[in-house]
């Protein structure tokens, strides 16, 4: 073993190959210089082979440290039951398990919605336990600080709506009606939808991450021991904040979208400003605004529910917090789009 640098596990194989039952292998390392873990791994391998073939190994020639390491590595026998094999499961079993997890998810979500509703009732009757200051902090975090992104997105959506519409309307020489298209589209639909999607990414993910981290730190357990429920203390201020803030953000998004449309109409299609304003005010009624604002509040509830639900459900690791935030956004967007379709359908049936 003089040439330590060139040694590896395979080099030891010939040494053991030639040995027969009853013979002994004697290890001598007097000329060994520097050695590291690879030598130990090779030695352990040699000893295991020898053991399997009932060949005695004389380790008295090893330096003290090496002998101690060998002893240490074999002191606690390998727990064969501790090794995690890759569980092989039939596709039917896996399918059943995913179906069951979807079912359980729905079950817990229903339970969570029930708890949140109870908290809402407690709030109305004045028994909800939460700090009003938390509500203000949430309003601040959800509202004013979201204005820049809402401005940008809504302005551009208005712009896009105007362009897409105008190109088609120009075929009939009816470019002027792009004002109707933009203002109705924004107030009834896009204002609420775009705001909701922005808020799902901003606040929904933040809620899930905040509450997930609180879960990891046992803060939620500590709250429960002190007599506070997560649905009162954490969910309620967040949900209220979104219910209150979303309509304002939606209204603001409507205005920005219409301004975006106006910019396109005036600068690209030579429609006079007065005419654009006149068409807009004639086509949009108060009902359209109210439908948009109602949607905003509804989406606010859904975002808060999805964000807080995923946060509370969160496991106790850093990656679980990341998953909670991701799944909060996905869940919110699914909720938003489904709810939007339902509301649109109802409005269509009711003729409003």
């Amino acid at each position: 073993m003089s040439n330590a640098a060139a040694l590896n596990g395979e080099d030891f194989n010939p040494m053991t190959e030639g040995l027969r039952d009853g013979q002994r292998l004697s290890l001598d390392v007097t000329r060994l210089g520097v050695w590291d873990s690879y030598l130990m791994i090779a030695l352990i391998d040699v000893m295991r082979r020898c053991h399997d073939r009932h060949i005695g190994v004389d380790t008295s020639g090893l330096p003290k440290g090496m002998a101690a390491l060998l002893e240490l590595s074999s002191r606690v026998p390998e727990r064969t039951d501790a090794i995690k094999g890759v569980a092989h499961r039939a596709w039917l079993e896996r399918l059943g398990e995913s179906a069951r997890s979807v079912w359980l998810d729905g079950f817990f979500l229903t339970q969570f919605i029930g708890e949140s509703a109870t908290s809402m009732v407690a709030l109305i009757t004045g028994r909800a336990r939460f700090r009003p200051i938390d509500l203000w902090l949430q309003i601040q975090a959800c509202g004013p600080s979201a204005l820049p992104i809402v401005t940008l997105i809504s302005l551009l959506v208005g712009l896009i709506l105007a362009f897409v519409g105008a190109v088609q309307l120009a075929l009939f020489g009816a470019e002027l009606y792009m004002a109707d298209l933009v203002s109705l589209g924004m107030t009834r639909e896009m204002g609420a939808l775009m705001t909701a999607i922005i808020m799902a990414g901003r606040s929904g993910a933040a809620f899930a991450a905040q509450m997930g981290t609180m879960n990891v730190n046992l803060e939620i357990s500590a709250l429960r021991v002190m007599g506070f429920t997560a649905s009162d203390f954490l969910v309620l201020p967040r949900m209220l904040a979104l219910i209150l803030v979303m309509p304002f953000l939606g209204l603001y998004a409507d205005l920005m979208g219409i301004i975006g449309g106006g910019i396109v109409a005036i600068s690209f299609f030579d429609i006079p400003l007065t005419q654009f304003i006149q068409r807009t005010s004639e086509s949009v009624h108060l009902t359209d605004f109210f439908i948009g604002l109602f949607k905003c509040s509804l989406f606010g509830v859904l975002i808060a529910l999805a964000g807080c639900f995923r946060g509370i459900q969160c496991g106790r690791s850093a990656s679980a917090v990341g998953e909670a935030a991701t799944s909060a956004v996905v869940t919110s967007i699914v909720f938003i789009v489904v709810a939007d379709s339902v509301v649109t359908l109802i409005c269509h049936r009711l003729g409003i």
Partner: protein, 264 residues
Amino acid sequence: MRTMNRTDSVIKVQDLTLAYGDIVIQKALNFEVRRGDIFVIMGGSGCGKSTLLMHLIGLQKPLHGDIFYGKERLWGVSSEQREQLLRKVGVLFQSGALLSSMTLAENIALPLAEFTALSKKEIDQTVSYKLALVGLAGFEGYYPSEISGGMQKRAGLARAMALDPEILYFDEPSAGLDPISAQLLDELIQSLRDSLGATIIMVTHELASIFAIGTHSIFLDSEAKTAIAFGSPDQLLKTSQDPRVLNFLTRGHPERAGQGVRHE
């Protein structure tokens, strides 16, 4: 001040089975904690000490059996009643579990503002007093992330004591503390018991603390899935014949059991 009657049973655990889903962690647990005890729940890692604590403080529902606070049941009653019972309980979690979005003062004021009729000024005074008790006077405005782990733990204790609880739970109080801080915390726990007449229940495997302040204990074993020894830690060390208990109490050198291991 509460009267100290040593024979009072503050907590009685009856035939308790703890489980996560279908996996039973501990079964057939029966023990009593008396007023003024410093009761130690000990055992190796993963034997279910912390799980037992979660059940005692009402965060997890037992699979079987019940826990009595005085004469009242913790489980099998409405959640309002359970909450009422737990009002006299304070818990210090392993990492302190302070609300990270609030300052120390806000953390400690939280239960005071909700469950007492104290004025703002009185709350502030109480907060300062509780922080001073744990040696953190002047740290009111700090956020938990701005102070060290040991300080977080002490602030957590100040919050647990906010409502002057009759029973204080500690989850691994000395874990992650240097020997001197751990010793100071032990002394603090002992003086809280003596001066407030509180009953202390702590989950720990820190031998130094166990022998220094523990007056009673149970030893949980993960193989047997139940408690295998009861009694004061000193007594257990002297009289226990069970190799598992002796190994634990002597750090794996049971032959030294009679020689005052804790003083080495």
